[in-house]
Amino acid sequence: MAYDKFDILTSTAVPLPIENVDTDQIIPARFLKATERVGFGDNLFRDWRYNQDNTLKEDFVLNQDKFSGKILVGGKNFGSGSSREHAAWAVYDYGFRCVVSSFFADIFRGNCLNIGVLPVQVSAEFLQKIFDATEADPTTELEVNLKEQKITLLSTGESESFDINGYKKNNMLNGFDDIDYLLNIKKDIETFAESTPL
């Protein structure tokens, strides 16, 4: 489906300095039973966010009033595990538009790009700077500029550039989606299909 355009995002960030955050933490399997793409944000990080009796775990970052914003900052190897796009949906539905980490799992990264959440991979040093800055002062803002492929810590002006391929960048800047592209080359696909051996 088509999604919102992504241009420049300026926001405070929510720090989650844990490595290997897997898709079962982002959204546990028992919450994957919907048949429409709505309401997944409520169960984002379900088991870290809520006790078993559904009361809030006060010390989890999403439950601390001082932290908010559209940027989620996670430790290395963020999103490992399953291919469930529900993990990216949950991140989006909660209100995040960008996830920053020093390393992303492949499928999660692709899923984010496909639904309009920008994964921004930074160096381990820069990631640490963001963690330190946001934890010291939760009102610290980050600016993510997709056109320039640059992420800036506004309090200090320090910035780093990030990678994204030209095709996906263009899609995100314009809110285009892959299926439209593929439908445009349907003829080529049909010709190809006739020549496949299997």
Partner: protein, 470 residues
């Protein structure tokens, strides 16, 4: 121009419909499998666009993630699960897709039934909205998990868009020692590479240890490729592969078979082809493995002690958080730890050879009283073989019960949930926090280790229970 290619390149390149400059490749998909959990939103997508499924004959639907593993003849009790199952059936019917739902004779876990009926073939591109689609790489296919947006792409256009991954080869020579299974080989590799060590790569497994493995063993290894971050893993097809594939329902017959074989026989890595990364291990050093943490990379030989935080790569804080969740300490020995649950099943270890291995240990012994055991075949076909081969009798005599096929406690979407705080030895593929139920603690291991735990009630080296072959 160099004509030498890796197996992966051969299959990938022959499926590229279109190359996008500074963007992904448009890759043609030969086989698409769908299940109830990751497909409804994709079907909704094409419905909203008002477009048909381009190649319904290349998509196959089965229900597995959400299904109960007892009383499958009764209506599904959980209304949400029932709704997803109903949606899958409706969508399959509406779009003319083959559907093996709950109760169907061919029903089972998507990655178990694919190979069983010959949907899985060498040299094919295979995708499914499930990360363990990598299983099918055992046949020399390029197989990987995709997200729901991509499921929609395949339904609409039979293509997906993917940047081409880098190539890695993992070479292991030597023989598997006593008590070592393909699962141990895979857990060993992941423990060496960590859960992100192969991210961005597609892996080819090569060497004696994989050549010697059965097709089912190869499936177990390829299945776990995703747990080291790889997009997928594959093994070059050989006589064993062709033998396995031949005469299955969906494999080519007669002249088509000869044509397919002509293609399949070209599927190997050329001698001087270059990989972006190559790793080599000595297979004879691999022991029966067990995990002690909350990701599949936190594994070790079963007789070792849990490593100290200072000795592991990566963040000590994350490591300690993980051990705290498991309620283990650095330096602990795993052997002798009392366990509560045993799960034999999943697309990793839910095939007939896994049940044979399990039975070989429990035969003549009794299930430990403190253990709840869930033995869940990967499909009806596996279930039938368990009965036909007399394995069910062995299991029953030892105090075990057999459940009905499905994903079950692998991801605990149905009622098969390990309660909070309880310790499970599981033959599945993920030991993430809460994977087998909120608060559950999982030790990943082979069917032999699971069987040894099931009869002793604690973590036990299966080699101690194996009869010496003279």
């Amino acid at each position: 121009m160099s004509a030498t290619k890796t197996l992966f390149d051969k299959v990938w390149d022959s499926h590229v419909v279109h190359k996008i400059q500074d963007g992904p490749d448009v890759l043609f998909i030969d086989r698409h499998m769908v299940h109830e959990v990751t497909s409804p939103v994709a079907f909704l997508g094409i419905k909203n666009r008002n477009i048909p499924v381009m190649h319904p004959e290349k998509t196959f639907a089965t229900a597995d993630h959400n299904t109960p593993t007892i009383n499958q003849h009764l209506p599904v009790a959980d209304p949400l699960s029932a709704n997803q199952l109903r949606m899958l059936e409706e969508n399959a019917n509406e779009y003319g897709i083959s559907y093996w739902g709950l109760g169907h004779a061919k029903n089972g876990i998507v990655h178990v039934v694919g190979p069983e009926y010959g949907i899985t073939q060498p040299g094919a591109t295979i995708v499914c909205g499930d990360s363990h689609t990598s299983t099918h790489g055992a046949f020399g296919a390029i197989a990987f998990g995709i997200g729901t947006s991509e499921v929609e792409m395949v339904l609409a256009t039979q293509c997906i868009m993917q940047p081409k991954p880098k190539r890695m080869r993992i070479n292991i020579n030597g023989k598997m020692s006593k008590g070592v299974t393909p699962k141990d080989v895979a857990l060993f590799i992941i423990s060496q590479l960590t859960t992100s060590g192969a991210t961005g790569y597609f892996v080819e497994y090569a060497g004696e240890i994989f050549r010697d493995m059965s097709m089912e063993g190869r499936m177990t290894v390829c299945n776990l490729s995703i747990e080291m971050g790889a997009r997928g893993g594959m093994i070059a097809p050989d006589e064993k592969t062709f033998e396995y594939v031949k005469d299955r329902e969906f494999t080519p017959k007669g002249a088509d078979w000869d044509k397919a074989m002509a293609y399949w026989e070209t599927l190997y890595t050329d001698e001087d082809a270059i990989f972006d990364k190559e790793l080599t291990f000595d297979g004879s050093l691999i022991e029966p493995m067990i995990t002690y943490g909350t990701n599949p990379g936190m594994g070790m030989g079963i007789s070792n002690d849990i490593p100290m935080a200072n000795d592991v790569q990566g963040g000590a804080t994350t490591y300690q958080k993980s051990l705290k969740y498991m309620d283990f300490n650095e330096g602990d020995s795993m052997m002798g730890k009392p366990i509560d649950f045993v799960f034999l099943g999943s697309c990793t270890n839910g095939r007939i050879e896994d049940f044979r291995a399990f039975a070989s240990i429990v035969k003549g012994r009794k299930k430990a009283d403190n253990v709840t055991a869930w033995l869940v075949p990967g499909s009806h076909k596996v279930e039938a073989a368990i009965k036909d081969e007399g394995i069910l009798d062995i299991l029953t005599e030892s105090g075990f019960e057999l459940r009905e096929p499905g994903c079950s406690a692998c991801l605990a979407m149905n009622d098969d949930k390990v309660p909070a705080g309880k310790l499970a030895v599981s033959t599945s593929n993920r030991n993430f926090e809460g994977r087998q139920g909120p608060g559950s603690r999982t030790l990943l291991a082979s069917p032999l280790v699971a069987a040894a735990a099931a009869v002793t009630g604690k973590v036990t080296d299966p080699r101690e229970l194996m009869v010496e072959l003279v």
